[in-house]
Amino acid sequence: MSMNSMAAPGLGHSLDISGTTPTPFARLVRVEVRKAYDTRSGLWLLISTAALTAVVMVIQLAVGATQEDVSLTYNSFLTSTNFSIAILLPVIGILLLTSEWSQRTAMVSFSLEPRRPHVILAKLTVGVLLAVAAVVIALVLAALCNVIYGVVSSDPVVWNLEAARLGGFLLLQLIGMLTGFAFAALLLNSPAAIVFYMVYTFVLPGLFGIGAALMDWFDSVRPWIDFNFAQGPLVDATMTPEDWAHFAVSGFIWLVLPLAIGVWRVLRAEVK
């Protein structure tokens, strides 16, 4: 139909973008940090993680102080985070990404920053920062508990945290966070990703264990495909070169591969 009624001068109008600078990465990271705590659910997840870490340690402290046959060290306090940070940090990692889909804010995020890799990398950076923060909080809480333990218990206070253990502890928390993030990218759905992560953490090692006990060939394959198993020596800071090889191969399967497929999917996805 006719367009002749239109005023012609508009046709030449173009957008002058020469004066606009692209959104700096640091600004995206700051925004993503804010998005992690600016809702009640996000804030309480962070607070709960810290609170649970403290609660588990306090229970441990109470047991250690009252039971004669239990003696605790700094490292045993730190290991108690297996029941707090190790479980909740991956959930934080999952929600960092999936909440954009469940709440459909990805539409806004990706229209304000169409360079999707920048947005995802900013979220990943926030995940790493939160994991580091969790480790710092755990170190401080464990130190507090260890000092109190020295006061209330007759056992000597043991500060046993070598560099290898500390490095292993940090690496484990980072892996937990990143695995959650990878599963989230793969599934883009909060409940599905959380269930998948829990099965991977609590059910799969058992199945692998049964398989290894029943079949000899599987027993020799297991270290190469069971990422949880391969992380065992990391906890005890006894990694041998062969352990590192197991760690790398199983980590590729359970961390790198899902992360790569998931990110590729997010970059190409139609955002609704």
Binding site: H13, T20, R34, S111
Partner: protein, 301 residues
């Protein structure tokens, strides 16, 4: 200005947008009109890079959206007012947008005031917002970066009549200052009141485009009709029928299938006093329904 060139988007064997081309000019409000599922939203999503096109492209001021740095400063987008975190307050949603774009915090308060949300409402969480409030917030979000192009999908949806009048004033003013506005709707009356230019889409295809006058002129050879009321309706009806025009009673007056000028002339000749004479607006609505119904039948057959 927005330029859509040969845009096609297919989902498997289903073609959501089929070879669509149109232009939105600066200084004008362009209405994108079509029934639900006609392809309006898909077209707008392709514009801002959320949906990859199967063929064709969209440029905004000569650039692909993804090539515009900090695009919120140039293009204001509102695709779905509900697509925000339900647990964030209205103010926080704007705050996040302003920070992403690198704007001062004062901009947030300005926008809240511009869209007439009270400070108390801005402190409420989005899950407690009515659709009309979400739309106001969404428009505030789109205007945050002081863009020169606005892309709004169904912005009037959920607004009350006063809200629609407010938005009309806002968008007209925005266009008069040189801005480009594209807004979609499935309601003719909304678009008709706001838009200078209209693009009608049905089943992924553009079925008509132009301003209101040219659309009506092009509809079935310009079949116009007139609503007229006279002191003596019977005398006027007789005179019109004698000239061969189709006359039917409508409310207090008559509906005549001819242009108003012919009715006026007949009244003058018959010496009948008119109290009301105007073109019946039904033409555009008939045209809209006819055009879109046709395209719908093609696909359901």
């Amino acid at each position: 200005m927005i330029q859509v060139e040969g845009l096609t988007r297919k989902y498997g064997s289903f073609t959501a947008v089929d070879d669509v081309s149109f232009v939105c000019q600066p200084g004008r409000v362009t209405g994108f009109l079509g029934p639900n599922g006609a392809g309006k939203t898909t077209t707008m999503r392709v514009m801002v890079g959320l949906t990859p096109p199967t063929a064709g492209r969209v440029t905004i001021g000569g650039h692909l959206y993804k090539d515009i740095p900090n695009p919120g400063r140039h293009v204001g987008v509102l695709l779905d007012a509900s697509a925000q975190h339900a647990g964030r307050t209205g103010r926080e949603i704007l705050e996040i947008g302003a920070r992403t774009m690198g704007l001062p915090a004062t901009r947030v308060d300005e926008m809240i005031e511009l869209v007439s949300l009270t400070p108390q409402e801005a402190k409420r969480r989005l899950r407690n917002y009515s659709l009309g409030m979400k739309q106001r917030l969404g428009i505030a979000h789109a205007l945050l970066g002081d863009p020169s192009v606005l892309i709004l999908d169904e912005p009037a949806n959920g607004l009350d009549p006063a809200g629609i009048r407010w938005m009309r004033g806002l968008l007209k003013g925005y266009a008069e200052r040189g801005g480009t506005v594209l807004l979609s709707s499935h309601l003719l009356h909304e678009v008709e009141q706001i838009a200078d230019e209209m693009i009608l889409i049905g089943n992924g295809r553009i079925v008509a485009q132009g301003d209101k006058k040219s659309l009506l002129a092009g509809a079935d050879g310009g079949k116009a009709s007139t609503l007229v009321t006279a002191l003596d309706n019977t005398a006027l009806a007789d005179a019109l029928t004698a000239k061969g025009f189709t006359v039917a009673s409508a409310g207090e007056g008559l509906r005549v299938e001819v242009e108003p000028v012919e009715v006026g002339r007949t009244a003058l000749e018959a010496s009948v006093v008119l109290t009301d004479l105007r073109a019946a607006e039904g033409g555009l609505e008939d045209l809209f329904l006819e055009l879109t119904a046709e395209t719908q039948r093609e696909h359901t057959a």
